[in-house]
């Protein structure tokens, strides 16, 4: 029994936290763009954060669930509806066999994650379910989802009594996760300086933290090409290719910047001006083409402090999600 793709979206791929540890073969890790939304979607349905999810962009797919399922949608608000009845993100949804999930219009954000209790019944490649479109492996047949694809899932241990007591095709479980503070668009995006930061002219360093940068139209999962003032290095020291990471800010030959995103390659040879603070990658992931960004230089101590704070919050959030789900199950005579 599967999720049937009634109509494929523009880019729907199975992703998890990435395929790490294979850079010696040049295999880029990939994985979800927004780790916060993907993790929360998993926690809401009682999965660990590393369980594979479906990452969707707009236009998003139309999906039919061929059996009962417990799902959650987190990330971009693409106006989801189940059998044409509007539902919300950030909330667990118990849905009946043959329910159809569709997305009507983009309201906010760039990518939305669908989680399923128990995940998908598919095979990993090199210990990960992330889709690698370059080598065409991992995820669902190494490809984005096509119309008529059917992705199997087990959907075991669902509180079906609760579901079948409801007269509608689905049931919203009565709790939602607060998320707005993660994605505050008024905040400047902090970055720590990279090894080539000091090679920038003083004027370029000022422009970097004062100017508006717009996410250009050729931006994608590999990287965000930024439109903005040209930046220059005072000394054109020869670069030697080295490892790069998600969030690395590179200076391209014409003076434009690119921020490497989830599908970045393992190595790069462009000057590294800075690294986006890890806690702001989800916010960046939900910034679509034409979004305007302002940057702010911080130091490593501050970046570490933000990680520590976010980690504490997330641990509490995860605990609350599991406790709520546990109580719901118990209330209906089931055990999570």
């Amino acid at each position: 029994m599967s999720i049937r793709i009634v109509k494929a979206g523009v880019l729907d791929t199975v992703q998890d936290a990435g395929r790490h540890g294979y850079s010696h073969w040049g295999i880029n890790p990939g994985g979800v763009m927004d780790s916060f939304a993907a993790s929360v979607a998993n926690w809401l349905v009682g999965n660990q954060e590393s369980t594979a999810v479906l990452e969707m962009h707009f236009p998003a797919p139309m999906l039919r669930f061929e059996k009962d399922a417990l799902i959650a949608l987190c990330g971009a608000d693409l106006s989801p509806a189940i059998n044409d009845v509007p539902v919300s993100n950030w909330q667990p949804l118990l849905i009946k066999k043959d329910a159809v999930l569709s997305f009507r219009k983009p309201v906010w954000g760039a990518r939305c994650y669908l989680s399923l209790k128990g995940g998908f019944s598919i095979d990993p490649w090199l210990n990960s379910y992330s889709t690698n479109l370059v080598v065409q492996a991992g995820g669902w047949r190494g490809d984005k989802l096509q119309t008529e694809d059917a992705i199997p899932f087990e959907g075991k241990n669902l509180p079906v009594n609760a579901l079948h007591a409801s007269s509608t095709n689905f049931m919203r479980l009565p709790w939602k996760v607060k998320y707005e503070h993660i994605y505050d668009i008024d905040e400047r995006i902090p970055f720590t300086s990279g090894p080539e930061w000091d090679q920038l002219s003083e004027q370029s360093r000022i422009l970097m933290v004062k100017s508006a940068f717009e996410i250009g139209s050729s931006s994608d999962r590999m990287g965000y090409q930024l439109d903005g003032p040209e930046l220059f290095r005072e000394k054109n020291v020869q670069m030697i290719s080295s490892g790069v990471t998600f969030g690395t800010m590179q200076l391209l030959p014409g003076g434009k910047m690119i921020i490497l995103m989830a599908d970045h390659q393992t190595t790069g040879g462009y000057p590294r001006l800075g690294f986006i603070a890890g806690t702001y990658l989800p916010r960046l992931a939900q910034s679509g083409i034409r979004s305007v960004l302002y940057f702010q230089l911080i130091n490593l101590i501050e970046a570490n402090q933000m990680m520590a704070d976010r980690l504490r919050e997330n641990q509490l959030l995860k605990k609350n999600c599991f406790e709520n789900l546990n109580s719901f199950y118990a209330m209906h005579g089931y055990q999570l």
Binding site: L126, P195, Q265, N304
Partner: protein
């Protein structure tokens, strides 16, 4: 060699031997990686090697949970990398596996050979001979899964990258700067294409999916157009 260490955001750190690109810096880095992976610390996610640097990528929560003083995580990792460097034999050679790769240098497969010939003031036959005579080290794998950065080319073959990258077919053998490489997948590329190999360089259905790693060696040998068409992967 003058090592320097720097953070790459809060979840990665790089140990860098700088330039120029040479075999000793490269083999030192590869030996360091081997030593790190012989006893990986909890939270280590990957060790990415470049020509003369290595980048540790780690899981922030796991690493910080290990440290008695999490606020000093950078200093801890810097010390760790320095210890690994000091304990690594700088004259160790990583085990050398030689890969012999057939290449068809026919004009049909060598899109950039004519322009290159003008640029380098060498005739095509000379370029081809110089290219396949040498044994190359794989300095690093990157840019694409399985893409080997091979070096160093003889001085006579030093060339500029193309001004406008073009679409490159899978198997294309190319040169730029003092490097030569092979594109395992079709991709836009700025290197000068001088031939093509019929070998499947990356196969996700196999383990390992790619036969080579940094530290191995590659030697090219010329084949005809017919041999190219008849080639079968073993």
């Amino acid at each position: 060699m003058n090592p320097f260490v720097y953070p790459c955001g809060e979840s990665a750190i790089t140990f860098d031997l700088g330039g120029p690109i040479d075999a000793q810096r490269n083999s030192t880095i590869l030996s360091m990686r081997k030593n790190i992976l012989a006893d990986p610390f909890p939270g280590l996610v990957d060790v990415v090697t470049g020509y003369s640097s290595l980048t540790l990528i780690y899981d922030w929560p796991i690493l910080h949970a290990q440290l008695s003083d999490p606020a000093k995580s950078y200093q801890h990792l810097e010390r760790y990398l320095t210890d690994i460097y000091n304990a690594t034999n700088k004259h160790d050679t990583v085990q050398e596996i030689l890969h012999r790769i057939p290449v068809c240098y026919d004009p049909l497969m060598a899109q950039d050979l004519v322009t290159l010939s003008d640029q380098l003031k060498l005739d095509a036959a000379e370029i081809i001979k110089l290219h396949h005579e040498a044994v190359y080290n794989i300095y690093m794998i990157g840019f694409l899964p399985g893409f080997p950065y091979l070096g160093l080319l003889p001085d006579k073959l030093f060339s500029e990258r193309k001004r406008t990258p073009a679409k490159v077919p899978a198997g294309a053998v190319a040169i730029a700067g003092r490097q030569t490489g092979i594109y395992p997948f079709s991709s836009p590329g700025g290197w000068n294409i001088i031939g093509r190999t019929p070998v499947t360089l990356f196969d996700p259905s196999k383990y390992p999916p790619v036969k080579w790693q940094a530290g191995d060696q590659v030697k090219f040998f010329p084949i005809s157009h017919d041999e190219f068409n008849q080639y079968q992967d073993p």
